[in-house]
Amino acid sequence: MNEMLKASIYLKGILPLMEDLVAFDQTAAQAIKGKRLILQFEIKNGPSAHIIIRDGTICHGTGKHPLPSVRLTFKTPDLFNRMFEGEDVRPGLRKGIPHLYFLIKKFPILADRLTYYLEGAGKNATDPAVIDFQVKIGLHAMLCGMAAVATDDPDLRNIADSTPFGTLLINVLPDGPFGTFSKIRQNGNFIFSVSFNQPVKHANAVMEFASADVAKQLIDGKLNAVTTIGLGKDIKIGGLLPLIDKASIFLYQFDKVINN
């Protein structure tokens, strides 16, 4: 498995879920209460991302922040991945000694809570609010993960090149969540970007889940997307199918990498 790609997926596909987590989960919210800091993760010769913790919220950004309070640097992607997966790995702390307590005691709480919803006991929750939250983070992870793979997987560069320009809207009926995965032109080249629960002017392609329950089943791997689309009821697709086709290749790869 390509550790660099995995690190990129964690940084760009999973780390953004912290935003949703602290907005929903009391324990996670408590862990960042009163905190104000910018935490940066850097992998040597690889991707970086940061989260801004402020007023009880988290805001995720890819790339480096100009003024991080803490810089966690990892010599190899493998080290970062092991830390992300809960192993006791000590990154290089370039900056931010005063925040050591937060890093050692509080940050792991966030990671634990996320794991709880994604793959721990919380996965089988029956509380509709929890299910809604899981659909939300599931969809958010799908979108960010697709963009991470599309941007950073060297083996899928040809697929990224041949992905048509445009916006794919993924929507959970009747009331969301929804989000987009787009390939857009930039400076004579292209980038992949993601939006989440933001108004969408025009979608070149649409994928719609009939309910949160259907979306949850798909996220949990209990539903086969291709055959469900074929059955014509629970997942509907339309518009620029090549965009959906390529997005599903990225999604498949995302799934494969994080479950490996």
Partner: protein, 417 residues
């Protein structure tokens, strides 16, 4: 068979069968026939029988068949003469230890029909021969690289598939791509890889999925030939899709192409499984050096079908008839589009037409259009070119246009003009 009445079709049996299939067959139906490629939930998934220019699905819905099995059916389904030849051969046997006389007869027929063909080899699928042909080019030139057009389909094999599953990057390492009609890009590729390019494989015209078909620009094929001669590159024409539908001597005649090798498949045996690659004498030694075999390839049954099909195509008015019917369909649809406030283009040779809504590259309009046509008994693929066969009639075209006249306003109501 004839079309059913005027009610909209429904597809319960198809959907139920698909649910059963999904339990025990990966993807339920895989490849191009996967429902996601057509209109999920609103088109037939399983066929029951076919006759002439029509087919019936497992729900008993009857359709004018404008897909013709994705091309192989050229004379019409269940053609009596072809099926007679098939039955006759079946009675003698279909799987021997050896080829039958029919293989030699068929090779003689094809080499007499196709000008450059000094030899012919046979297989079952298009992919078999395209993959083999590029290996022959490599063998002949002792070079590695192959150029193809972006968005072209040459089969499901690793070197040319768009899908990365199970494909090693190394398997694509020697495949270069240019955009259709872009001689400048070809020049760039030959300049970047001097002495490294074994072959260029192209279809006679560009027939990508999900987009309008593109004809070669003026002088395209002449320039390609010139570059190939200059660089010592083999020109392989993948004529698998149009095959002998446009010209009994091959589509290269229509476009003035001078290939080194040609691959044919779809419309050569009226639906029976057979493909062929043909080439000039100078490539014969290389062809002999590239091992080629398949358990079922020597079956004389499809060869019997091919001989009969080619004879009929050669001696009847089937080819001009398909062209003329296709022209009526093209003109009719473009006029109807205008009448209802749409710019639609029917692209490609008229016997293999495909319609696009010029102002909707996102395909929403063609999807609704085809969904509603299918629901009224006219099977038009929203994303892949269509096929006219010789069993289609003027009445089929009339009925199709009459139906389209009703369907354009439905598209407008659903999506706006």
């Amino acid at each position: 068979m004839s079309q059913k009445n005027n009610e909209r079709y429904s597809y319960e049996n198809s959907l139920n069968l698909f649910a059963r299939a999904a339990k025990i067959i990966p993807e339920g139906i895989y490849g191009h026939q996967n429902p996601a490629f057509v209109i999920p939930g609103a088109s037939p998934y399983f066929a029951d029988r076919a006759e002439g220019g029509y087919f019936r699905d497992v729900d008993g819905n009857e359709f004018i068949d404008f897909l013709c099995g994705y091309g192989p059916v050229v004379l019409g389904h269940n053609h009596p003469e072809v099926e007679n030849a098939v039955r006759k051969q079946m009675a003698k046997g279909s799987c021997f230890n050896h080829p039958g006389e029919l293989m030699v007869q068929l090779a003689e027929k094809i080499t007499s029909l196709v000008d450059l063909a000094d030899w012919a080899i046979f297989a079952k699928n298009g992919s078999d021969v395209t993959t083999w042909a590029i290996r022959v080019a490599r063998e002949f030139t002792n070079r590695k690289k192959i150029i193809m057009a972006k968005g072209a389909y040459h089969g499901a094999h690793a070197w040319c598939t768009d899908y990365p599953g199970g494909v090693l990057p190394e398997e694509k390492e020697n495949i270069l791509a240019m955009n259709w009609n872009r001689i400048d890009e070809l020049e760039k590729l030959t300049a970047t890889h001097p002495g490294d390019i074994a072959g260029i494989i192209l279809t006679p015209y560009h027939h990508p999925t999900f987009a309008a078909q593109e004809m070669p620009v003026d002088g395209f094929w002449k320039k390609i030939r010139k570059i190939c001669d200059r660089e010592g590159i083999l020109l392989i024409i993948d004529d698998i899709r149009a095959c002998f539908r446009l010209d009994i001597h091959g589509s290269h005649e229509v476009f003035g192409i001078k290939p080194d090798m040609i691959c044919f498949a779809k419309a050569m045996a009226n639906g029976h499984p057979i493909s062929t690659a043909v080439g000039r004498d100078r490539y014969r030694e290389a062809a002999e050096a590239v091992f080629f075999a398949g358990t079922f390839w020597f079956s004389p049954v499809p060869m019997a079908a091919a001989l009969t099909t080619l004879n009929i195509l050669e001696t009847s008015d089937a080819i001009p008839k398909m062209k003329q019917l296709g022209m009526r369909l093209k003109n009719g649809l473009e006029d109807l589009g205008k009448k209802h406030g749409y710019n639609v283009t029917v692209s490609g040779p008229s016997a293999l037409p495909y319609m696009t809504f010029d102002d909707d590259p996102d395909l929403y309009h063609i999807q609704v259009f085809c969904r509603e046509m299918i629901a009224r008994g006219i099977f038009l693929h929203p994303h892949h070119n269509w096929f006219i066969c010789a069993a289609h009639t003027d009445a089929d075209i009339d009925y199709t246009l009459k139906t389209a006249d009703k369907v354009f306003p439905i598209v407008a109501r659903e999506l706006g003009a």
